[in-house]
């Protein structure tokens, strides 16, 4: 059973009020109001250019926004800090870089410069983090030689350290084969039930959204509809946004 979605669910949540983002005189996001709840998988849907990535960047504190983004505990009090984990979309880096998974993760885990080597303690922490997403065998592979699915699992492992309050997944399975997608989703669903955090995912895979999401936000510069998938999927706004697009298509 998916937990019921109520505005006050008794869990801590991230509260967005009147969030707007303007860049170069153009409004990319307008007056976004929503809650992202702990223990739920919230999925952000909408067409390309609807502001999904902008909303994510606002949550991560990477773009300036007006309005408020607050992290509230179960009694509605502010929790001062919001730790975000972030799995970016597709990485566009030089595939020939001689950087191993271990190098990459150590650069985030440790202060010791990676070119002097990776310490034993750091390596143990990396193994542990990778094991959590069934990717321990990737530790010494060059980053540029990973498949799409493998790269996503490495990024997921990284995003879980330090333990986030909000895990943000930006189209994590685009360009990943069917098998990899399934594996990734299973991992995310397991994390949802075992970790104390909220998960926000951008997805174009509507079939997956219907199956896995607890809460859906339909975005086009502002929120058109939000609620449980069964509700959002039968709204006129949803039909307008995705008219002609068969289920599951990008």
């Amino acid at each position: 059973m998916k937990p019921g979605v109520k505005l006050n669910c008794g869990l801590c949540h991230i509260d967005l009020q009147g969030v707007s983002v303007t860049r170069g005189g153009q409004e990319l996001l307008h007056d976004v109001n929503t809650h992202i709840h702990c223990g739920q998988l919230t999925v952000l849907i909408g067409q390309n250019g609807a502001g999904k990535t902008t909303l994510i960047r606002a949550l991560l504190g990477l773009v300036k926004y007006s309005g408020s983004i607050r992290h509230l505990n179960e009694t509605g009090r502010d929790i001062h800090h919001l730790t975000c984990g972030y799995v970016p979309q597709r990485l566009d880096f030089d595939l020939e870089m001689p950087v191993t998974v271990s190098d990459f993760m150590a650069a985030a885990f440790s202060r010791r410069p990676v070119w002097t080597g990776v310490g034993r303690g750091t390596r143990a922490a990396i193994v542990e983090a990778l094991t959590e997403v069934n990717a321990a065998e990737l530790i010494d592979r060059p980053l540029g030689r990973l498949s799409g699915g493998e790269m996503q699992r490495v990024l997921l492992a990284l995003s879980l350290h330090p333990a986030p309050d909000l895990l943000v997944l930006d189209e994590p399975v685009s360009g990943v084969d069917q098998n990899g997608q399934q594996l990734f989703l299973e991992t995310v669903e397991r994390l949802r039930s075992t970790r104390h955090m909220a998960i926000l995912m951008v997805s174009h895979d509507l079939e997956m959204v219907r199956r896995a999401a607890d809460y859906v936000i339909l975005l086009d510069k502002t929120i058109l509809e939000q609620g449980q998938p069964d509700y959002v999927f039968q709204t006129p706004a949803f039909a307008r946004t995705f008219s002609g697009a068969p289920m599951g298509e990008e």
Partner: protein, 278 residues
């Protein structure tokens, strides 16, 4: 300084009879490890063209120094190089044009401006050594600067490397983890600018970039990890530096050219090794 000269004089090589060769050797030993370190990131971030443009801007630096009446051309080159480097990276981030177009515009502008000033009155000939470099030009003051640059550069490299590595994989990810991406990138281009300007008079405008890029590019073909990449890059840079300098002495030719050719041979060899491994 005298003691160091005496030690170097004890090396049983004909070249070590001369103080200018001792200074050149010291300069090579101080500069090449720094360029080897910086080169790894320059190659990974595909900045070869950027550092090339930076080398060219040395001409403008000297030219402006003359116009402004700065007596020490090292100072005017350093100041101008640092400003130029920051300006290019700023415009690269904000401008609409693609990076290589922006860099090309900057590169040709600085060369033209430098030539305009230095060639006024038909006197460019006395600056032509800037283009090909001259090992005789290494002074004890240069050595001190190089030592400071090596120490300061390595220290900064210890602090910044992890952040730069994350940035080169994905900048938003690095930022979301608290890396101040812009600051790190700025510090990196300033470091490259300083290393380039400190060595341009004896390596030469035309060759300085190769010294930064080639060892790191060769190292990349041999390495599987960041640590290996750094070790290979620094090792190749230092080995080529010394070999090239000594070869240039016996052949009585440009040291910069000999060092770079050495590095080019290493690069070709590294390509071969990579082929065989695959």
């Amino acid at each position: 300084m005298e003691t160091i000269y005496q030690w170097l004089g004890a090396i049983p090589l004909d070249a070590m009879r001369f103080d200018f060769m001792k200074r050149a050797l010291l300069a090579v030993l101080l500069l090449t490890p720094l360029l080897g370190l910086l080169g790894t990131m320059a190659v990974n971030q595909q900045m070869a063209f950027f550092s090339d443009a930076l080398g060219h801007s040395a001409l403008t630096g000297i030219g402006l120094g003359i116009v402004l009446g700065v007596s020490n051309d090292l100072v005017s080159m350093l100041v101008f190089g640092v400003i130029w480097a920051l300006l290019i990276s700023l415009i690269k981030h904000t401008g609409g044009a693609s990076a290589d177009t922006v860099i090309s515009v900057f590169s040709s502008t600085s060369v033209a401006l430098g030539l305009l000033i230095l060639a006024s009155g038909g006197g460019f000939a006395k600056y032509s050594s800037l283009l090909v470099g001259d090992v005789l030009a290494v002074t004890e003051q240069d050595l001190l600067w190089l030592l400071l640059a090596l120490l300061g550069g390595t220290a900064l490299w210890m602090l910044m490397y992890n952040g730069l590595l994350l940035t080169s994989v994905n900048a938003p990810l690095a930022r979301s983890r608290g890396v101040r991406v812009r600051l790190y990138e700025a510090a990196f281009v300033v470091l490259v600018a300083v290393a380039v300007m400190l060595s341009i008079r004896w390596v030469g405008v035309m060759l300085i970039n190769a010294l930064l890029i080639l060892p790191a590019a060769a190292g990349r073909n041999l390495a599987r990890s960041t640590r290996q990449h750094t070790l290979w890059s620094v090792g190749i840079a230092m080995a080529c530096g010394v070999t090239g300098l000594l070869a240039a002495y016996s052949l009585n030719t440009s040291a910069g050219a000999a060092i770079v050719l050495c590095a080019a041979v290493c690069y070709a060899a590294s390509l071969l090794v990579r082929r065989i491994r695959k």
